[in-house]
């Protein structure tokens, strides 16, 4: 039981970080960026390349990972998504293909072998009698720091307010002097940076493989739909629902069914309350 609580809380923190960037883009631009989890994967590889293969310090690895994923996100937006904001199907399909392209490129660069990223913080701690790796704890603390920073940004800064304003009433935002293109771009950049942080921690929590994006993508789907697309609070809550359910399933039933409860909840929520628990 303690195991489920602790593991669930830690996993949920990471999920929230990945799903957060995903939901922000939908909230502001009303499009789903399926390549988001692809950025997470590429960021993980960038960090591994910088720190382990190039021998740079951890901070530099972080900076490179964040720069790469932010660059990818901004590139995706400026490259073509900007032109198709009113056609979600094209964005949907094209970003999905883009994620696949990222997978192929990473396969060409790093091969299809599972790679282990050295932990950022070493060692294990016993929490309530359960072994927990310090690395995971650090990852979750960092996730929460990032989530807190994003929440602060969205609530207390002009740009953050502009994002929320654009999500709620586009026309109202424009006549207040907000340039939607600029706000969209900023959102994509922030979402990319979050993917960068998430990538480093996700990679060091799990392992690196070019198809790493599929599972986080499906889980972020479930999370943002349960929480309500575009709602940050909903994402936080849903990440915990999914995280705990998943841990409980893995520990009590079968490891192979880990993604099923989240998806089942998602389907029930969608059919019973399509806007999600916290959606508007």
């Amino acid at each position: 039981m303690e195991q489920i609580l602790i593991q669930g809380a830690l996993l949920s923190g990471l999920y929230a970080l990945i799903a957060m960037g995903f939901t922000m883009i939908f909230g502001v631009g009303r499009v789903l960026n399926l390549a988001h989890a692809g950025y997470v994967m590429v960021a993980g590889y960038s960090y591994f390349w910088a720190t382990y293969m190039m021998g740079l310090p951890i901070v530099a690895g972080f900076a490179i990972a964040i720069a790469v994923s932010t660059g990818l996100a901004v590139g995706t937006y400026l490259g073509w998504v900007r032109r198709f904001l009113n056609d979600p199907t094209i964005v949907f399909v094209s970003t999905f293909i883009f994620a696949l392209i990222l997978e192929h490129v990473m396969t060409l660069a790093f091969f299809r072998e599972n790679i282990n990223v050295p932990p950022i913080v070493v060692g294990m701690t016993q929490v309530m009698g359960c072994p927990v790796s310090n690395n995971l704890v650090a990852a979750v603390i960092a996730s929460w720091a990032c989530i807190g920073a994003v929440l602060f940004f969205v609530r207390k800064t002009h740009m953050g307010r502009a994002m929320r304003a654009l999500a709620m009433d586009r026309r109202g935002a424009i006549i207040s002097g907000i340039n939607p293109d600029m706000v969209n771009l900023t959102t994509w950049a922030i979402s990319g940076a979050l993917a960068g942080v998430a990538g480093v921690f996700w990679g060091s929590y799990t392992f690196l493989v070019p198809s790493l994006w599929v599972l986080p993508l499906i889980m972020s789907f479930a999370i943002v739909v349960i929480g309500g697309l575009g709602s940050i609070e909903g994402t936080l809550a849903a990440a915990h629902i999914v995280g705990f359910m998943e841990t409980a399933t893995v520990l009590a039933i079968n490891d192979k069914l880990r993604s099923v409860p989240g998806l089942v909840i998602m389907i029930i929520v969608l059919l019973a309350r399509p806007k999600g628990l916290f959606g508007r």
């Binding site: 091969f111 282990n116 050295p118 490891d255």
Partner: protein
């Protein structure tokens, strides 16, 4: 204006696309049936982005170059073509069709993983092309060969031991080292859900207990997509066994890394395919020290016979990128191609299939520690030379048709399941710093526990 430009672009694209489709068709039409003086064609199928695929791909090339340099097969050169199966079963089928029908290859060497091989098995039965499968050891493949022998299954050969024979090797290892030397009597069977993992686990479950007096406290099976091993190890630790018997082939690095990161206080043994790769140290992010694994014989850490050493030298001279050292399937592919070609020489080619299969089934090859290909029975066993590697295929009347014969008695010298261990510190950045700890005859390094295993867990008789 812009619209018109777009239209022209449309016309251009259409024309190019039409040409792209029609031209190869026309090209295909003009290519006639191969004339007798044309070279033999050897097709390679495997995932070219994986270490496993590349090992056998490269040694295949080396073997074919050597044969060509020595005059070829029956006076004809061998041409090498390849098709990528990308670890996707559907791509595997397409790649197999491509080799069989586009290139009309005479024989195929495969480095495919289990489910890809199982995917193209029906095509093998249809085309009946001699095929050497160097990676998969799935007993299902062997069952198909055995059951559909006349329908075409006989064209399939596996130049290494199948799942069940490997399982038998591990039982021997458990008997010798774990039960007899260490005095352990409880374990947890921990395996991945692949054809390989389940196949070996089945054997180990049925044989180790009764055979070595080791009690299986529980079984933990995990999916190859698993990324978080904390809960998995929590389950294992809850059983509190003397040791963990781990079987994995596809997803090996993550469970190993989790074991090190979580500092699981229970010794781990078993089959870890990634640990026999020279890149293991790097893939683990430098945490491979002290890790051990049971492996089929040709593995890093072993002292090499001259034939294998020559292969390694050629390999290293030709390729410097990953994998820097061939996996065991690389050695098997290299030897297997020689078996196929020698059988074809004796049978006068790969047609008719029956004749070639008969010759292939007669393969009986021993690699000597200090010798070469040739049989040097006079040197053994009293002389200084010892039998090192042994290849012979089961016949159609045996259940394990066309997989390699297991020589458990040691009569032919094959080691009964070798256990290699990574040293705690990596000494040479390019070379694998591993040694063999079991069996006794091949041991070249001392077994050490990883530092976090508590004293009480290190019971030894």
């Amino acid at each position: 204006m812009k619209k018109k430009g777009l239209q022209k672009l449309g016309v251009l694209i259409s024309v190019v696309l039409a040409l792209a489709i029609v031209l190869p068709l026309a090209g295909g039409c003009t290519a006639g049936a191969p004339a007798p003086e044309e070279p033999w064609k050897c097709g390679y199928i495997g995932a070219l982005a994986t270490d496993v695929g590349r090992s056998s791909q490269r040694t295949t090339q080396i073997a074919i170059d050597e044969i060509n340099a020595a005059g070829g097969l029956l006076g004809r050169q061998i041409e090498y073509v390849e098709a990528d199966s990308t670890e996707e079963p559907l791509e595997g089928v397409k790649a197999y069709e491509y080799l069989a029908e586009h290139h009309k290859v005479d024989f195929i060497v495969s480095g495919c993983i289990d489910d890809v091989s199982l995917g193209w098995m029906p095509r093998l039965l249809e085309y009946k092309i001699p095929t050497l499968d160097t990676w998969t050891s799935a007993i299902r493949c062997i069952e198909i060969v055995h059951d559909d022998y006349e329908a075409g299954g006989k064209a399939y050969f596996m130049p290494h031991m199948n799942d069940y024979d490997q399982g038998a090797e591990y039982v021997a290892f458990a008997n010798d080292l774990l039960a007899a030397e260490m005095g352990w009597d409880t374990m947890v069977l921990y395996y991945e859900d692949t054809a390989y993992g389940c196949g070996v686990a089945e054997w180990v479950r049925d044989e180790i207990g009764p055979g070595a007096g080791i009690e299986t406290l529980g079984e933990v099976c995990y999916d190859i997509g698993t990324f978080d091993f904390t809960p998995v190890y929590s389950k294992i630790v809850a059983y509190d066994p003397d040791f963990i018997f781990h079987i994995c082939s596809v997803n090996c690095v993550p469970p190993s890394a989790a074991y090190v990161e979580m500092e699981i206080p229970i010794p781990i043994f078993g089959v870890n395919v990634a640990a026999c790769s020279a890149e293991f140290w790097d893939d683990m992010g430098g945490m491979a020290g002290g890790f051990n694994a049971t492996m089929p014989p040709p593995t890093i850490g072993l002292e090499w016979d001259p034939v294998s050493q020559a292969l390694i030298d050629k390999y290293k001279a030709r390729w410097t990128d990953r994998p820097i050292f061939p996996h065991f399937n690389g050695f098997n592919a290299y030897q297997g191609i020689y078996h196929m070609v020698e059988a074809a020489e004796r049978a006068g080619g790969f047609e008719p299939l029956d004749k070639w299969v008969k010759e292939m089934e007669k393969t009986d090859q021993i690699l000597w520690r200090y010798g070469g290909h040739e049989r040097r029975d006079d040197l053994s066993p009293t002389g200084q030379d010892i039998k090192w590697q042994y290849y012979m295929y089961y016949g159609p009347d045996h259940d394990y048709t066309h997989s390699c014969v297991l020589d458990q008695t040691g009569e032919h010298g094959r080691p009964g399941g070798m256990v290699m261990q990574w040293k705690l510190e990596k000494q040479d950045p390019l070379e694998a710093t591993v040694g063999i700890i079991h069996p006794e005859r091949w041991r070249n390094t001392e077994f050490v526990f990883v530092p976090w295993i508590p004293e009480e867990k290190r019971i030894q008789k």
